[in-house]
């Protein structure tokens, strides 16, 4: 279980971005997260994956806090893959950072063997995002946060990547959090949807 308990975050001397946010994702569950820009979607995903530490509250994976070092069981995939890979590593090394994905997975994601020897800037955005996805689909990942993972991609590549991720999630019992502006995509993928606008409204109601 991935659990966010009374999660709050703000940058020093600024307004709260998230306040007392509660959420849980079970293994194998696909949860959507909707909300306009500025509602803390990306902040939440960074907190869940350990990129940021909460100001108050905590994140727990299977009742334990996120590890302070080593591989994080909660992995985050961003909108822009070029910012998520080391520009001086070849694709081969990027893919194998945790462990080299099975050839069948590379094949399913349409990753050509010819790409392995190239550098990230020699692939297009859609090609590099496939690499970023293949890198985190390994047994050490229990939860995956997809923050606008396919917003930069054409419809075909979007569907292709999502099908492979869902297949993998089903087999490995991976929990997924899908963050997107695209309501049709969320509807298509998710068992359950969290709407941050409603969450905020109900908090105000509780606070009043």
């Amino acid at each position: 279980m991935l659990l966010a308990k009374d999660l709050s975050f703000r940058y020093p001397r600024q307004d709260w971005i998230l306040q007392n946010f509660n959420m849980e994702i079970a293994p194998g569950e696909v949860v959507g997260l909707l909300g306009p820009s500025g509602f803390g979607k990306t902040t939440l995903s960074k907190l869940l994956a350990g990129y940021l530490s909460p100001t108050a509250g905590d994140v727990r994976v299977n009742h334990a806090p996120l590890p302070r070092s080593g591989y994080c069981p909660v992995q985050l995939i961003f909108q822009n893959p070029e910012l998520a890979v080391n520009p001086r590593w070849r694709i081969q090394q990027i893919l194998a950072e945790k462990q080299m994905p099975e050839p069948s997975l590379l094949e399913a994601l349409g990753i050509h063997s010819g790409w392995l020897n190239r550098y990230p800037h020699e692939l297009s955005g859609g090609e590099l995002q496939r690499v970023a996805v293949a890198r985190v689909l390994n047994p050490a990942t229990s939860y995956l946060i997809a923050d606008e993972m396919t917003a930069m991609l054409d419809a075909n590549t979007q569907a292709l990547i999502w099908h492979r991720v869902l297949d993998y999630a089903l087999v490995q019992n991976l929990g997924l959090l899908v963050i997107s502006h695209e309501a049709a995509l969320i509807q298509r993928l998710c068992n359950r949807v969290i709407d941050l606008v409603q969450v905020r409204a109900s908090e105000r109601w509780k606070g009043a």
Binding site: S37, S124, M152, D154, N156, T157, H163
Partner: protein, 309 residues
């Protein structure tokens, strides 16, 4: 207004040591844009959408070799001519505020664009005021720096830079990804307004849904060529012709969400025949032997020998 014929772009790159290799990134590309029309260009990243925009604006790097021709209002667009026209008759609406000067107030940047297009300082000032007013930007916004703008305001300022110079052809390069639906709708409505004033608008995007909201016609790019140029309404009426166009449509989450396996061929390993042949379900031996030329099917050009007559 604009017509692109048989455009090919080849980059020469150093391979190993001093050996050079040639990468053909755009092959036999064709496109035409009429005044008063929104022409959307859709395709995957790496299909040559932005390169076409760079070719029209004459801002390709030195190692690019261009063949074929681009005509603007009846005249051949040479590199000299496009450098005279860009920012004036032909304007680009860039992707993000990263293209603005971060250390200059936005009002002054827009004014500078207006002056470069030939207006006097006072006329330019008036044009800036008019344009900001038109897009609902308060006068105070002129004194803001780019980082102080919200996402929606930034889009409006970027549109203003293109509009203030009275461009006849406006090229918008990926104006919508990652934006909230309201901001997307607003940006698109600005573009369709420009077209209804008689300008030619090229909307470059990977997002078919966004394109279909305002486009009159859609050019579908694949691996550096135009596979089909279709009226936008043909998507809804099921008349789209090329297997790749049909695949893109089927892949939308609100349609079937089915993807075609594989990926776009890379420029150094293009197939000899049809560029889509490696992924096409209806491929035959003929497809693999020769690149298909455009043919008219149901009133629009498509590069597929099997497109249903």
């Amino acid at each position: 207004m604009l017509s692109v014929e048989n455009l090919s772009i080849t980059f020469s790159m150093y391979d190993r040591g001093l050996a050079q290799k040639q990468l053909t990134v755009i092959t036999d590309l064709a496109l035409d844009v009429q005044a008063g029309e929104v022409m959307a260009i859709v395709g995957a990243s790496g299909s040559g959408k932005s390169l076409l925009a760079h070719a029209i604006l004459g801002i390709l790097p030195d190692n690019a070799k261009v063949s074929g021709s681009i005509w603007f209002k009846g005249d051949l667009l040479t590199p000299q001519r496009s450098s005279q026209l860009r920012g004036k008759a032909i304007a680009l609406i860039p992707q993000s505020i990263g293209y603005l000067d971060p250390l200059m107030q936005v009002g002054r940047q827009v004014q500078r664009t207006a002056q470069l297009s030939g207006l006097s300082a006072s006329d330019a000032k008036a044009a800036v005021n008019r344009t900001f007013d038109r897009y609902g930007l308060a006068a105070a916004v002129q004194r803001l720096y780019p980082f102080q703008l919200s996402g929606g305001m930034a889009r409006r300022v970027l549109v203003a830079t293109a509009v203030v110079a009275q461009a006849e052809l406006v090229i918008a390069d990926e104006p919508t990804p990652g934006l909230h639906p309201d901001v997307v709708a607003e940006t698109l409505s600005h573009l369709s307004q420009l077209a209804s004033e008689g300008k030619g608008v090229i909307l470059i995007t990977h997002d078919i849904e966004a394109a279909l909201q305002i486009a009159d016609r859609v050019a579908v790019f694949y691996a550096g060529t135009t596979v089909e140029i279709t009226p936008a309404s043909d998507f809804y009426s099921g008349k789209i012709r090329h297997p790749y166009t049909q695949a893109l449509w089927r892949a939308l989450p609100q349609n079937d969400f089915i993807a075609v396996a594989g990926s776009q061929p890379s420029p150094d390993a293009l197939p000899n025949g049809c560029l889509f042949s490696e992924r096409c379900a209806g491929v035959t031996a003929e497809c693999r032997s020769e690149r298909p030329a455009f043919r008219q099917v149901r009133g629009a050009p498509v590069r597929c020998i099997h497109a249903a007559r």
